[in-house]
Amino acid sequence: MSVAPHLPALQVVLPLLAAPLTVLLRRPGPAFVVAVAASWCALAIALTLALQVQGDGALSYAIGNWPPPLGIEYRVDALSSLMLVLVAGTASVVLPFARGSIEREIPAAQHYLFYTMFLLCLTGLLGISITGDAFNIFVFLEISSLSTYVLIALGRDRRALLAAYQYLIMGTIGATFIVIAIGLLYLTTGTLNLADLGRRIGSDGGTRPVLAALAFLTVGVSLKAALFPLHQWLPNAYAYAPSAVSAFVAATATKVAVYVLLRFYFSVFGDAQVFARLPMAPMLLLLALAGMFAASTIAIFQTDLKRLFAYSSVGQVGYIVLGLSFDSVSGLTAAIAHLVNHGVTKGAAFMLLGIVAASIGGTSLARVRGLGRLMPWTSAGIVLAGLSLIGIPGTAGFVTKWYLVLAALEAGQWWLVFLIVASSLLSLMYVWRFVEAAYFREPRRDIVPAQVPLSMRVPTALLLALVVIFGLDTTFTVDPAVRAAEMLLGGSR
């Protein structure tokens, strides 16, 4: 029996089975090995699937051999394969980093449970990306969310508990909105398969319950994606979670939520439905712009680097949604490429902050004074990640800003170009806050940087290298994004 045809199922099942295995092992060492092995296997599978999809087009896998639309279908196409690689890749890089990081932040007795939760979170995020079934999306969403709440609550600070609780309330409301939307869709069409839903709604012409479902879905997913003004849970969650958790969640969770939005808008409702019958485009545009400006402005006034970068994440979600709102190939390309580019950049940024926290015991701006002299490589890395957030040429962030500007010009909205540049200036200001503290202040005498293990520095350097590589060579980001964008728009036209 060959394994190859079952890769789509193994993609999800492997980390799902590894999770209880880490509980049974109980000791942190073996649990770590299992977790890393599972995530690396997941990455290998994701890359294999991506190559297959690139060669032969979308893959469909019928779970339990029940043919769709009756059975649950796993579907890998240009967009979902990109998400699978992003999620599995981030996990593969963050997990080796996590070992050194959690040793300093989580009591030893809980280490094996950290790996369990991490693997469950990975399972959920992979599952959302691969499934072709609407209700399955909800189930995987809750698997990833519940494990994320636990991971955030593992933070050292007691405020991590409060952040996890607030995220639990907001996240559950969001997920319940999504269930309502799926319920309304099921009641009107009688199917849960995404492709089948798309076909049936298309012929139906869009009744009122379908439009209500669209509204519920938009609100629910926006909560999960932290689209302004539904972002309140995010800054505290990212700021007080253990560093490895911040890095993984910031790089993947909101991105996967945006993926759900893309999937439903373009594969289920169809862009004609979404953008012609309801004023979605101006609404998303407005919220995206509000997020870009408001969140970046708030970021400037933060006194802690983790919170600063967390607010920056809210702003960056704005860029992604802005690209989505254009409803054009170049706009969607910008949005999808930014999912990857920002994921890599933010992952690297939070891992660097993890190194800073492990070395000098905190990430407040008052603490990182003179960091440029104390930890020159780490500071340079944070600046590099910051440059990518601003969108300086030669970094990943520039590539997507470039496509966003192209999309805005294509849509004839030249004033948006000015706004995109203006919001980049705000990013420049919050990155400058770090530069000023790290390079223009005297180091504090009472802080002696501790040695940080190689297992933390190597994965971080790897992700930072990707920030530069994706800025110079767009083969792995923009090309798949163009294919995904054309697929999304082609399916509905």
């Binding site: 209700f135 909800f138 519940l146 636990v150 508990l161 609780y165 639990l168 559950t172 319940t176």
Partner: protein, 130 residues
């Protein structure tokens, strides 16, 4: 059906009215209450209302379990029920995790009132700049 069509429409959609009422009450409790446990209760009502949204339309008057038999020709749709079984499990897990977090929060802050916790937080915020 006898009576005015308006009354019939309301009665015919009674389950939706109940669902929406419960949904709104649940969401209101989550937003309006400052007690962390009461918030979870509201969240529970909110989630449970959605179960009703799924289950009620799956039931047909006179319908029976979907086992093919000569004696019956009307069957209830079992799929919404199965879906909600999953959603119930998710709801229980969420509630359990939420309550566990509240226990830990009480251990850390000594209270489960949101405003008192935020008051304590405003005191510690200044220490962040160390």
């Amino acid at each position: 059906m006898s009576g005015s069509p308006g009354v019939a429409a309301v009665l015919g959609h009674a389950n939706y009215f109940v669902t929406i009422f419960l949904l709104m009450s649940g969401l209101f409790i989550v937003i309006a209450r400052g007690n962390l446990i009461k918030k979870l209760v509201g969240l529970g009502i909110f989630q449970t209302a959605v179960y009703l949204l799924y289950i009620a339309p799956g039931k047909l008057l006179g319908g029976t379990a979907p086992i093919i038999s000569d004696k019956f020709d009307v069957y209830s749709n079992p799929l919404p029920h199965v879906l909600i079984l999953t959603a119930i499990v998710v709801g229980v897990a969420t509630l359990a995790l939420g309550l566990a977090l509240v226990v830990r929060i009480r251990g850390a802050y000594g209270t489960i009132e949101e405003d008192e916790i935020l008051q304590q937080e405003s005191g510690t915020a200044a220490e962040d700049d160390r």
